[in-house]
């Protein structure tokens, strides 16, 4: 059975990850363009100093100019900014390779051949999986073709044997190392994006869970009417103090009406507001919407949260049943207790079916939170686990 560890991830993750990446992509696009600009200036200096002729200078600089114009266009076009910047990234990756290959073919020297590595380094700034694969592929293909098709490039003045075989082997090993290193580095980076997006969503859901458990205890709902009454009194007094008419009153009425009226009815009753304004205002609504309660919960717990230098890069923060150095017995007991708790009815979560548990543990990141041998034993013998649970908890 094919494993899909994304099957049970929060569905909001991708959108948030995209917004996180977008902010970083903007910075990286600017940095890459700044470096390409410096590269263009250096190339221009070399072209002038080597007297290659105006047509060569113009054609090379035109390539740089086209690259800048395309970047500027994609950066400026606001609609679907994320995908635009991604396209700009691929164009930059390929564009710089095209320019360096043109330079290599013009000068045909081993020294200029190394500019291919500059093209690689530039694309590495993006730390994007597809861009890196594209870059690795471009480096390998262009490098190999140049080595095999133009061996004269590597002929040295003092040594006529260019030893293209060794150059090719070194290039292959180099590209392989680059591919593996970029694969691991980008996977880890993506993992952190994922972790951050996940913890953001987890916070929202944990607050929902907290409110649910609180409700089980108190058996009462938040008294939204008391809030609105207090708000009315407060706004009256405040308006009187400042000496203005009560500008809050209509909005408080909308909050009250939101419990009974549909959006269309609200828009008809309060024509001075458009839907966007109403939607924004409804974040303040307390009976149907938990947004302000969440702001309140988070704000009430905001003190005493400090991050020390030691905690950064600490893997001990990752919660799992698979901590390095733990005794095997401990790992087994941790997993088994967790599993058994899933099979039991709890006030906040009903008991789960065996098939469901197996599916989640196999197709989610929880698979990686459990020792590989232990999870494999469970997956291969889950029916035995289920039988043992039923035997022991019968009549629970």
């Amino acid at each position: 059975m094919k494993q899909n560890t994304n099957k049970y991830q929060y569905e909001q993750l991708e959108r948030y990850k995209e917004s996180l990446e977008l902010a970083h992509l903007k910075t990286k696009t600017i940095i890459v363009n700044a470096i390409v600009f410096v590269f263009a200036v250096v190339v221009l200096y070399f072209l002038i100093e080597t007297n290659v002729g105006t047509s060569m200078i113009l054609s090379t600089m035109t390539m740089f100019l086209v690259l800048f114009i395309m970047n500027f266009a994609f950066y400026s076009y606001d609609n679907d900014h994320y995908n635009n910047l991604k396209i700009a990234m691929y164009i930059n990756t390929l564009g710089v390779y095209v320019i360096t290959i043109a330079l290599i073919l013009k000068f045909q020297t081993p020294s200029i051949f190394t500019s291919l590595f500059i093209a690689y380094a530039l694309s590495a700034i993006y730390q994007d999986f597809k861009a890196m694969m594209l870059s690795n592929f471009s480096l390998f293909i262009s490098g190999s073709i140049l080595i095999l098709r133009y061996p004269d490039i590597f002929r040295l003045s003092g040594n006529t044997d260019s030893q293209t075989f060794y150059i090719l082997v070194f290039l292959i090993v180099f590209v392989l190392l680059l591919s593996l290193s970029s694969y691991i580095l980008i996977k880890r980076k993506t993992f952190f994006y994922n972790q951050l997006a996940q913890i953001k969503e987890s916070e929202v859901r944990n607050m929902d869970l907290l409110l649910e458990i609180e409700k089980i205890n108190t058996k009462s709902e938040l008294d939204s009417e008391a809030y609105y009454s207090s708000l009315s009194k407060f706004s009256n007094e405040l308006s009187a103090k400042i000496g203005i008419s009560n500008i809050f009153d209509r909005k408080i009425k909308i909050l009250r009406d939101a419990n009974v009226l549909s959006m269309q009815e609200i828009l008809e009753k309060y024509p001075e507001y458009n839907q966007k304004e109403i939607n924004e205002l409804l974040n303040l609504e307390l009976k149907l919407n938990n947004k302000m309660r969440k702001v309140g919960i988070k704000a009430s717990q905001s003190q005493g949260i400090e991050v020390t230098r030691k905690e950064i890069f600490s893997e001990s923060q990752f919660k799992s049943f698979n901590h390095q150095g733990d005794n095997y017995y401990v790992m087994i007991i941790a997993f088994v207790t967790f599993y058994a708790l899933l099979k039991i009815d709890k006030p906040y979560l009903s008991e789960l079916e065996e098939d469901k548990i197996k599916d989640i543990l196999f197709n989610s990141e929880y698979f990686h939170r459990i020792d590989r041998n232990i999870i494999n034993i469970y997956l291969e013998n889950n029916e035995v686990f289920d039988t043992i649970v039923k035997d022991y908890l019968e009549g629970k």
Binding site: R15, I112, R155, L177, F248, L281, K319
Partner: protein, 410 residues
């Protein structure tokens, strides 16, 4: 026949190790930092093996004396063995340094002993290996060193690798040097950018983790109070539950060892810990070391505190909780960013004040969640540095100007 079996065993072992390495690479994001470092050293060592192997024919090709012919590859091979040994004994950082020394040694060997362009490529390979380890100090130190050596090498021996088509030594050397420095600087910029992004993300993640712990501690406290109200025992006191954990543990353990008694004893100790002051056990020097070690390890999985296990269980539960589609403001808690309209922001501030003043959000002196914040405490909170994540200075000033109205009417 004996050799055949032995060699097939070795091949089997090597292929098994390869499979495990590929699996680790595929799931590298789930490895700890130490495990990733070990994996990186293993990968670098494999590549170094190729370069060391290539140094054998090159060594003889370059007509060194026979002693050097043998000694150079053996020296590199010994360095590789030492690197592997260091990973085996879990000294991964040392192994990293030794793998870098090996590649630096190889680079010096290749560029120093041969007058061929491929040797020069090793400067870039060396920088790539150092970059792969993603440690900025290592990069500055070793990367800077090898780049400086590269510049020096071109200055001294630029003539050796000048291209047949080159316009002259000066431009050939300048091109080599500019590109090497450029490569080093671009990766240095990449390091700074990614380090900055990574550190910010990590800081946010760690602080969010701490906030989550607070919510989960609250949830657990509510659940404990709920049991008290209903006069029920917690699940970890239920003998049937204890037997179940013991039985399942013994079942899994049978796959590793025949004797099920030992793990059954540890399970018993695990439930025993729920009724003890865990710190007393950990700090009791009269207890056997193994007992204290188990107490430290099992502490993470206790059910009566907000342990790691309880956190994982709550996180798991959130998979089933109702959710809304993604909205831009879903993870936004700052009133300034939530609302564009000033009146909405003021209403938000008033609701926040009222919430903190009327809803139970704090522990009382007996550790129960039953206390609300006083007006003075809320005022302190509002002016605190941490609260800028929720309200602006402008709103704080408005609050301070009208504090008596807030206190009286909300």
């Amino acid at each position: 026949m004996k050799y055949l079996i032995l060699s097939s065993k070795i091949i089997w072992k090597v292929s098994d190790n390869m499979k495990s390495m590929i699996n680790k690479i595929k799931n590298s994001e789930f490895l700890t930092f130490n495990e990733v470092l070990r994996l990186k050293v293993a990968i670098v060592t494999s590549f170094l093996f190729v370069f060391v192997s290539l140094s054998v024919p090159l060594s003889s090709y370059n007509n060194f004396t026979s002693g050097v012919d043998i000694l150079i590859p053996i020296g590199f091979a010994l360095l590789l063995v030492l690197t592997m040994f260091l990973t085996v004994i879990n000294l991964n950082r040392w192994a990293m340094h030794f793998s870098i020394y090996t590649i630096i040694g190889l680079t010096i060997f290749y560029v120093g002993r041969t007058d061929h362009f491929y040797g020069y490529i090793l400067f870039f390979v060396t920088l790539t290996v150092i970059i792969f380890y993603q440690d900025i100090i290592t990069y500055l130190l070793y990367g800077g060193g090898i780049t400086a050596y590269g510049i020096f090498y071109i200055m001294e021996n630029g003539q050796a690798i000048i291209g047949f088509n080159s316009t002259g030594l000066e431009f050939s050397s300048l091109t080599y040097q500019t590109i090497l420095i450029g490569f080093y600087i671009i990766f240095l910029i990449q390091f700074i950018v990614s380090d900055n992004i990574y550190e910010n993300m990590n800081n946010e993640w760690v602080s969010m983790n701490k906030v989550l712990k607070k919510y989960q501690t609250f949830s657990l406290q509510y659940l404990k109070e709920n049991l008290e109200i209903n006069e029920q025992n917690p699940i970890y006191k239920d003998p049937k539950f204890q037997q179940l954990i013991s039985e399942l543990s013994v079942f899994i353990n049978e796959f590793f060892e025949e004797d099920g008694n030992k793990i059954a004893e540890v399970v018993e100790f695990y439930f025993f810990l729920h009724d003890q002051e865990i710190d007393d056990i950990i700090n009791d020097k009269e207890l056997p070391l193994i007992t204290r070690k188990y107490a430290i390890e099992l502490q993470k999985y206790l059910l009566n505190t907000r342990s790691e296990l309880v956190s994982v269980l709550f996180d798991f539960t959130t998979l089933f909780k109702g959710d809304k589609k993604f909205q831009v403001c879903r993870y936004e808690y700052n009133l300034e960013k939530l609302f564009n309209n000033k009146i909405d922001r003021l209403l938000g501030l008033s609701i926040l004040y009222k919430y903190l003043k009327t809803e139970v959000t704090q522990y009382d002196r007996w550790g129960k969640v039953s206390r609300v914040l006083t007006h003075e405490e809320i005022s302190e909170l509002f002016i605190s540095k941490e609260f800028r994540a929720f309200i602006s200075f402008e709103q704080v000033n408005f609050y301070l100007d009208n504090a008596e109205l807030f206190e009286k009417h909300l």
